[in-house]
Amino acid sequence: MALNYLPVSWNGQKKLYDWTIAGLATVYLVIFCGLQAVLFPDVTAETIIIRATSTLAFLMLHVILIIGPLCRLSTRFLPLLYNRRHLGVSMFLVASVHGIFSVIQFHSRGNVDPLVSLFTSEPGYEHLSQFPFQTLGFFALLILFLMAATSHDFWLKNLSPRVWKTLHMGVYVVYGLLVMHVLLGVLQQETATVYTVVLGIGMALVIGLHLAAAIVSQRTDSRPLGQAMDGFVEVCDVHEIAENRAKTLMINGQNIALFRYDGKVSAINNQCRHQNGPLGEGKIIDGCITCPWHGYQYLPHNGQSPPPFTEKVETYAVKCISTRVWVDPTPAPPGTPQTPALLNGQ
């Protein structure tokens, strides 16, 4: 968590994760470059580097983008998410090799500055067929740089989670820019159907899984069952919540996680202060609500991280009437203690 982001950083799982990234990336590059040299001996080394790194980075971006929705669809994919930022930074490094090589190859050593050349050599901004596709790659790389540079929790804390999260949602802008970068660029020359099909499958996976995840979490978010009474609305039966687990609710725009533990029920805001992880998909471990994404913890009755940590989320008043659970969807300021509802008669 925020105070000890260095000490918890390394464990066997993380190392395994990084070795897997490095291993698969190496396999890709070796096969791509080796086969390129064997099947097309006329190619130049620069083109091999440009194409090998660009396609690898684009593949990594697809993996990064589908991990999120996969985890929403099944929590068993969560270990893939835990260290995703290493995948992101590696992808940026690979993509920057492509970008820098392309700028050198196509724009340097001419009669104007390379970056001026990048934006002015193809002035056909108004025609799709002549659109300077390399500028799209440039902006994608710029956003990736900002994301990679701020990926450490230090920046998360300094920029505030909201700003940080917004910046990191930029990955979707990057994806859009890159799809156009490829469509308007190399696919105008390399016209084999396979390329269009592969790109189509990639896009279908990314878009399809995001839609599926959105639909599924809409379905699992419970809505109030009846009318409000003294501000409280009836939300579910207590037996619908597993011990040490939560049910997520969407009431009046409030995203609420309702946890059951030790014969009690408490409600806190569903969004983790770290990166908006879904706390309601987490679990109570050692008496703390533990975020499924990176393991930030909060006490269920007051939404505060246990000392020495300082994160706080909004809390909500809860009551139980027989086995029915009622929640007041008015958020109390982050960290406000609430009396947990006791499961009467149990």
Partner: protein, 281 residues
């Protein structure tokens, strides 16, 4: 509801079996996709021309310097049956993305006018489809020796040296830069390469029209204005696009030079057309 053990946080040292299984399956899937994709993406490429850039190897050529309409070194290659010498022209190109003119001007500042003088020049050869160019890699130092023309071995100096007119023609093809087209880059033409060709031509390398016939054979035409003046600045907008050029065609030894008076971009690209259709919907 989720079983008790089905929860794992990255900072825990071991994941439950059910989770490990899923993660391993994902990793195995990736391990299969990675080599297949790498292979497929390489295999389906269009391929690259057999053009050659002798990077790192310097070659010395001796011949007569011709500066207009584009700079050539005119090199005697053999004697024909009736003892007339046969020449081949090697297009001179500057170092990096530049034409040869700045280097030739530097030489002339040092040695006086060099047109039609016999020069010994060292550079890097670039060649493809029977056309060759020499990159003056060492710039000012690329000129090794200058001598006058020996009248016995070379025909008298005239502005139309080895040149003959082939009449007015209309040609359709892509404007490329000869440096990359003849071998410095692969691919050296087409959409992704366009911005580089623009840089080269803006830098003074004479534009080259690449014309492909139905059976894939190519012919190349150096493009200049109607009076032989450079068109580099005005043609930039059409580099890397399909164009139709009209003009007077001349043969200069083994090269064709088009003195063009009209450059017309060809009809709209399919991508723009489909975009317009989509917008009208």
């Amino acid at each position: 509801m989720k079983p008790e053990d089905d929860f794992y946080i990255g900072w825990q040292s071991d994941a439950p079996l059910s989770i490990r299984k899923v993660v391993w399956r994902a990793v195995i899937a990736l391990a299969l996709i990675v080599p297949i994709l790498a292979g497929l993406l390489v295999w389906q490429q269009r391929g690259f021309s057999g053009a050659v850039f002798e990077y790192g190897t310097l070659t010395t050529l001796e011949g007569e310097l011709i500066r207009t309409p584009v700079p050539f070194l005119r090199v005697p290659v053999k004697q024909t049956a009736d003892n007339a010498p046969l020449f081949e022209r090697v297009l001179l190109i500057g170092f990096n993305k530049r034409g040869a003119d700045s280097t030739l001007n530097a030489w002339e500042r040092k040695y006086g006018p060099l047109t039609n003088k016999r020069l010994k020049v060292r550079g890097t050869l670039i060649y493809h489809d029977g056309k060759a160019a020499l990159e003056l890699t060492e710039e000012a130092d690329a000129l090794i020796d200058v001598s006058g023309i020996k009248p016995s071995s070379i025909p008298p100096v005239s502005s139309t040296l080895g040149q003959s007119s082939l009449g007015i023609v209309r040609l359709t093809g892509e404007i490329t830069d000869p440096k990359c087209m003849l071998g410095v880059m692969k691919p050296g033409q087409g959409r992704p390469h366009r911005s580089c060709a623009v840089r080269c031509i803006a830098g003074g390398i004479p534009p080259l029209l690449a014309v492909q016939n139905r059976s894939g054979q190519r012919n190349y035409y150096l493009v200049v204005g109607p009076m032989g003046e450079p068109l580099n600045a005005s043609i930039l907008i059409n580099v890397g696009r399909s164009v139709e050029l009209r003009g007077r065609l001349e043969q200069a030894d083994n090269w064709l030079i088009l003195y063009t008076d009209s450059v017309q971009p060809l009809a709209q690209a399919p991508l723009d057309r489909s975009m317009q259709v989509a917008m009208c919907w």
